[in-house]
């Protein structure tokens, strides 16, 4: 039988993306309820996604915003 933690690892991304079937979701949750290691890794993945989004977000330079506005086509 496949290592349940390895299976849980495979389920992590679809689980966090909410695309598992109900049965798969129940199976993942049953394992997570009893496995602290997988639970921590799932929590880490969730935090990582939030952190990556925050760290990768750069405000658009004001100068670029002005350049884009200047590209508008003047009314005749």
């Amino acid at each position: 039988m496949k290592d349940p933690c390895a299976h849980c690892e495979e389920m992590m991304q679809p689980y966090l993306d909410h695309v598992l079937t109900d049965d798969e979701m129940r199976a993942a949750e049953a394992h997570l309820a009893e496995c602290v290691d997988c639970r921590r890794r799932y929590k880490f993945e969730e935090s990582l996604r939030v952190y990556v989004r925050k760290a990768a977000t750069e405000p658009m330079p004001a100068e670029l915003k002005q350049k884009l506005a200047a590209l508008r086509i003047p009314l005749d």
Binding site: R41, E45, S47, Y51, M60, L68, L75
Partner: protein, 223 residues
Amino acid sequence: MPLAYPRGRNSNVPGAVREGMGHAGTVDRMDAEPEDGQRLATEARDRVRFEEDALALSDQVYRVARHLASSREDADELMQETYARAFRSWRSFTPGTNMRAWLLRILTNLNIDRGRRQQRAPQMTPLEANDYFLYDKLAENGDGISDEEQVVERLSQDDIVSALSAVPHDFRDVLVLVDLGDFSYADAAQILDIPVGTVMSRLHRGRRILKRELAESALEEAT
């Protein structure tokens, strides 16, 4: 996400004036001159509204563009090319559909046209590690894990930005659209013109590649 819609001015309803249809409305001509003026005024108003709506989305488009492009300079150019094209092609946008996705489709096509797909060769694709790899590496180098959020914060913003830029384009495009741009799998598939199944597999692999890159930079910093 249709990228084009008919703007025919020829109504099949003789003599009728069809109003209230916004951009796609058609007006029959009973009296050419005033209606021509009215049509031009309507078109001008629609175009101004389109430009304002597109500019209001520019921060959100940039958030994605910044990481689809290889550098800030490239992102800057790509944004300008995208908006210049969008303003020229405004008639091909279907009102009521997702303008952000429409702009991103122009942007990703331009990005491909600019020849930034040189990493396509499969042998150049780094092998991703498994999904738990990064956590395990950070845990090995920490003093025991008590809070997963603190573990994440061992990664610097520079680590994240440089790891993202190291993900090959095909994977990065999907990763950036879904995880930074909040697009659904279906929207990403339409923007990139690839099947949803391909979006899912590239997204999952892209995230694993990103984590492998992050693990490498975290390990370098630890030594």
